[in-house]
């Protein structure tokens, strides 16, 4: 199966190891992975801030970059969620509507792709440690992915998966919200950090690096010794 990696700008620039894990994981499962070099950012930072015209420029670039892809798979519920919103944004646009529908229809978040498209639940990976999982908002509520990450994690040998209290609550990231409403965002992430501590987990796992950087950044600020790990890191682990 031919898969185009949608790296997301954050995982391209800040946390590139996530991309490596994603590529290795897909290849191990027999996918032929390519990386369309013209991809940039999904446009979400501008879109959610109200800069529709600016965000559309980014979106058009993404549609151009993935025009010929069969499947587009990315390690982020939120960024893939943005691609899935393109049809609404370009509805009625004679030039782009079709492209938007085309991209949205073939785009998948990585855990969703593994479980729903490849039909895999056990990757055959091993990871020893106490783990809790934060189901990020856009992954859950926009993409409707509720079970796939848990299904995959439960099949990893050695993982002691502990439920995160009030897991569905937002971590307070929210794109520019974290900067614009830093007081409220700060209170939200403090609460999330508290909930993570309550689990006693050594690793906080998630499917969106932005949320993990938010929570993880708070936890290091508080001097807590909880490591963050993107779910692909756990799934691509073998000892």
């Amino acid at each position: 199966m031919k898969v185009s990696l949608f790296i997301t700008c954050m995982c391209d620039i800040i946390t590139s190891n996530v991309g490596k894990d994603t590529v290795e994981l897909l290849e191990r499962l027999g996918c032929e992975v390519d990386f369309p070099d013209a991809q940039t950012c999904c446009g979400q930072p501008a879109f959610t801030s109200g800069y529709l015209e600016e965000s559309k420029k980014a979106m058009k670039q993404m549609m151009r970059a993935f025009k010929d892809s069969e499947f587009v798979v990315g390690p982020s519920g939120s960024c893939v969620g943005m691609l899935r919103e393109y049809p609404k944004i370009f509805a009625g646009d004679p030039e782009w509507e079709k492209e938007a529908n085309n991209l949205a229809a073939k785009s998948y978040e990585i855990t969703q792709f593994l479980v729903d498209v490849l039909g895999v639940t056990d990757i055959g990976s091993t990871f020893k440690g106490k783990v809790t999982y934060h189901p990020s908002c856009h992954m859950t509520r926009i993409l409707g992915i509720r079970d796939a990450p848990y299904t995959l994690l439960k099949h990893v040998q050695g993982v002691d998966l502990i439920e995160l209290p009030i897991k569905e609550d937002c971590c307070g990231f929210g794109g520019t919200f974290a900067v614009k409403n830093s007081v409220i965002s700060g209170e939200m992430v403090k609460e999330k950090s508290l909930h993570v501590s309550e689990t006693g987990a050594e690793y906080l796992v998630g499917g969106d690096m932005a949320c993990l950087l938010n929570i993880g950044g708070r936890m290091t600020r508080e001097g807590k010794n909880v490591k963050i790990a993107h779910i692909t890191e756990i799934l691509n682990h073998h000892q």
Partner: protein, 474 residues
Amino acid sequence: MSIKISNAPYNERVQEGVKNDFMRKAVASAQGRFRSGRQKQADELGNWEDWRTLGEEIRTHTLRNIDYYLEILSENVSKRGGNVFFAKTAEEANEYIQHIIKKKNAKKVVKSKSMVTEEIGLNDALAEVGAEVVESDLGEWILQLDEDLPSHIVTPALHKNKEQVRETFAVKKGYEQSDKPEELASFARQQLRQEFLAADVGITGCNFAVAESGAVTFVTNEGNARMVTTIPDTQISVMGMERIVPTWEELDILVSLLTRAAVGQKLTSYITSITGTRLEGESDGPEEYHLVIVDNGRSKILGTEFQSALHCIRCAACINVCPVYRHVGGHAYGSIYPGPIGAVITPLLDGYEDHKELPYASSLCGACTEVCPVKIPLHEQLIRHRQIIVERENKGNKMEKLAMKGFAKWASSPAAYKLSAAAARPALQPWSKNEMIKSGPGPLKGWTINRDFPAPAKQTFRSWYKNRQKGREV
């Protein structure tokens, strides 16, 4: 009062909310209970999504034909002896009600809880014509005695603790017992019973009016709306114009959605539907009845992309799941309508000028949209507000605007993107220590007030990938 409830700047209101530990604990605990109650009811039905679909279809149809249904309603109320007054503005509604109060020479008015009367500032208007107004909902009565404002549309005194309530009762009403909620409520029952009996006029809001027969329905637990509609000889119901259903059959659905979504009850203790005046031979109920149908900015929303915001049935489910509301409380919104729905409708009803921060008071997590029993896409409407603030109102932050212009150039040009991606790490080097940024420059500053940010990776993904491909080709 009106929609706007504070002159303090947004940031100040937020700070004040965040600092109020008691309020935050109370709100967090209340949200927990509301959420589990709502969830339990949804789970028990098993087909909650069908109920939401039905709720949405009913609201959509009704709003699209609202002129028709309001006409039918007014005919039916009139046939049953009620007067109907259509008020375009808050002022028109208040003047009409003042006129009735004066005509009746009313000294005492007893009210049941109503958001729309808060919205139009009715109590102040009644005071102007010398009528004493008594709020009879326990929470509203507490706030009235304490000269405080509601912070939640269903449980208005959520931010107050029982010690504060005891103190208020003691100072204002000579209360001498403990701060046990039962004793406080029992005292309120005795006091308010006398008020009901002495009232010249009763004023209610309206949860839903049934167009086909003219029944105006109230959803309560305490029974105060029943008292108000049973005892005084003159009664006035004030309804927001969108609070209407075609027939009794749709009333069933919306009431079922409301009580479940609001308080996790299958039905509240009292669902009371009154139609016009009392009939011949009846000893209770109104001899004179007025229904005041209020626009006050709602019609501006009709026919716009925000029309579905008028579907709102004021259940507060969105408020009860909102993490922003949990940390700042209701007063921080500076509007009589707080939370996600407040952030959507306040700028629509009262303009962007005073409320332009509200659409940003959301992380867009979508929890509100997920629970809304009539499927209002709340978080999407918040984004749409942001677009309007930026594009039409031109009230966006100037620096942000520049940054977004830059973003568009960056993200639409792979070459520019690649250059900057490679430059990110060296650019942030001065602020990085042990691969972590503790205090960042520019926009990163807002982030690093509360948390660390990692230094960009030593090698971008795309450069790793390129090298890997090269290695393979060799």
